[in-house]
Amino acid sequence: MLHWIYTAMAAWIAWLLLEELFEEKSWRIQVSLVLILIPLVLRILQIK
């Protein structure tokens, strides 16, 4: 159960980051958002 709660949280944060990525105009912040996104994607896909 804990595992699914964790995955749901990671997915939710990833979604928020994605939304922000497409709205954000500053390229610096966009790069930062993508960097944060990478580990979350790996977590959600249960790779790493």
Binding site: Q30, V31, V34, I47
Partner: protein, 375 residues
């Protein structure tokens, strides 16, 4: 406003880059699950696995190959365990060298190069360990995983706060739950690590092992380095071996296994089986707290500027040679120490000797490198 303003196109490009990064990182990470290649030499007569002693391990990350080198002539059975701690490569490689190069002329040898197979599938967090290291063997470039001290945390996630050893009830820090060398004699319905320990104990009993070696390494600042730790039963053999090694300018310290510290191979193998256990230690700068950059070259060449400075200053009690502590020296020490114990055993038991062939001398290993021991 256009549907694809410049910042959205940039977002898409960045996402593509992130996907590529995920793909690369994921692939690299998955490589840790690919087994290391061990090429059995002429001396190997059959290969079994830990699951043959404890079927519960079948299909798990903890099952590991067990190599038999049998002479067909009577003599004692010797067990050599490498990779109890996968971040101590000299122990693992010394065992691999035995599998790939050794021939047994009397008695028999059983080798488990990756005792904690699960620990080879990850590295320790925050240590900056290399994922792998490469050596040029007699025929090719060989790459081996550099694992973690303990079994993979995913096995029994999460670790308890306190680890209670079975059956003594001794309490240790929770992360020791995954440390194979705190888990003996193991438990058939315990954690993954306890099950591995249980399988190894069963192997020792079923195969009627007489002498058992557990190969380790430790940080240069640890006092028990270049040491033979043994159970009361092995005192005389270890003392004889130590004198022989000293004559070859390989000084060793002799330490006795504390009877009240449970879970260690040299204690529980000795107490729970007829085998005489020996734990051998060499120095490994990768494990040290003082080390600088921790790359694959540090694992192989053992040269670290910080340790050299510490050694030169003379202010720290460390075991570190000014020329570095290359794997060849550490593997060479392990192999010589095993042979020295067996030579002493032969002196004391002329009726049941174990005779080995195919292991070069310490000087030859230093001269030709550790790769010369591998196919």
């Amino acid at each position: 406003m256009p549907l694809f303003p410049i910042h959205r196109i940039r977002a898409l490009l960045l996402l593509a880059a992130a996907a590529a990064a995920c793909l690369y990182a994921g692939k690299e990470f998955r490589k840790m699950n690919a087994p290391d290649t061990i090429l059995p030499g002429q001396g190997v007569s059959r290969i079994r696995a830990l699951k043959d002693y404890f079927p519960n391990l079948e299909g798990t990350r903890s099952d590991s190959a067990v190599y038999f080198l049998e002479s067909g002539r009577p003599g004692p059975t010797v067990l050599v365990l490498g990779g109890t701690h996968p971040n101590e490569p000299a122990g693992f490689l010394a065992a691999v060298a035995l599998v790939e190069s050794l021939r047994v002329k009397a008695g028999r040898l059983i080798v488990v190069p990756q005792a904690c197979q699960s620990g080879f599938t990850c590295t320790d967090p925050l240590e900056g360990y290399p994922q792998s290291y490469s050596l040029r063997s007699r025929s090719r470039l060989r790459t081996f995983r550099f694992g973690s001290r303990a079994a993979n945390p995913v096995e029994d996630w999460p670790d308890p706060i306190i680890y209670r050893h079975f059956p003594s009830g001794q309490q240790l820090s929770g992360n020791e739950t995954r440390n194979l060398n705190r888990a003996y004699p193991g438990k058939s319905d315990g954690t993954t690590t306890e099950k591995t320990a249980f399988a190894i104990m069963k192997l020792i009993r079923d195969e009627k092992v007489n002498l058992a070696f557990d190969l380790h390494e430790a940080a240069p600042e640890i006092p028990i380095i270049n040491a033979i730790v043994t159970h009361e039963k092995g005192r005389e053999l270890a003392a004889g071996a130590l004198l022989g090694l000293e004559l070859e300018n390989l000084p060793y310290a002799l330490e006795l296994s504390p009877p009240n510290f449970h879970g260690l191979s040299h204690r529980e193998w000795g107490d729970g089986t007829p085998a005489i256990p020996f734990l051998l230690e060499t120095t490994n700068p990768v494990q040290g707290r003082l080390r600088g950059r921790t790359g694959a070259s540090l694992a192989v060449d053992g040269q670290d500027r910080q340790y050299r400075l510490a050694q030169e200053s003379g202010r720290m009690r460390i075991t570190y040679d000014a020329g570095g502590e290359p794997l060849a020296r550490r593997v060479g020490r392990h192999l010589r120490a095993i042979q020295a114990v067996l030579e002493t055993y032969n002196e004391l038991h002329p009726e049941g000797r174990v005779e080995l062939e195919g292991i070069p001398s310490y000087e030859e290993i230093i001269r030709n490198g550790v790769g010369s021991l591998l196919q």
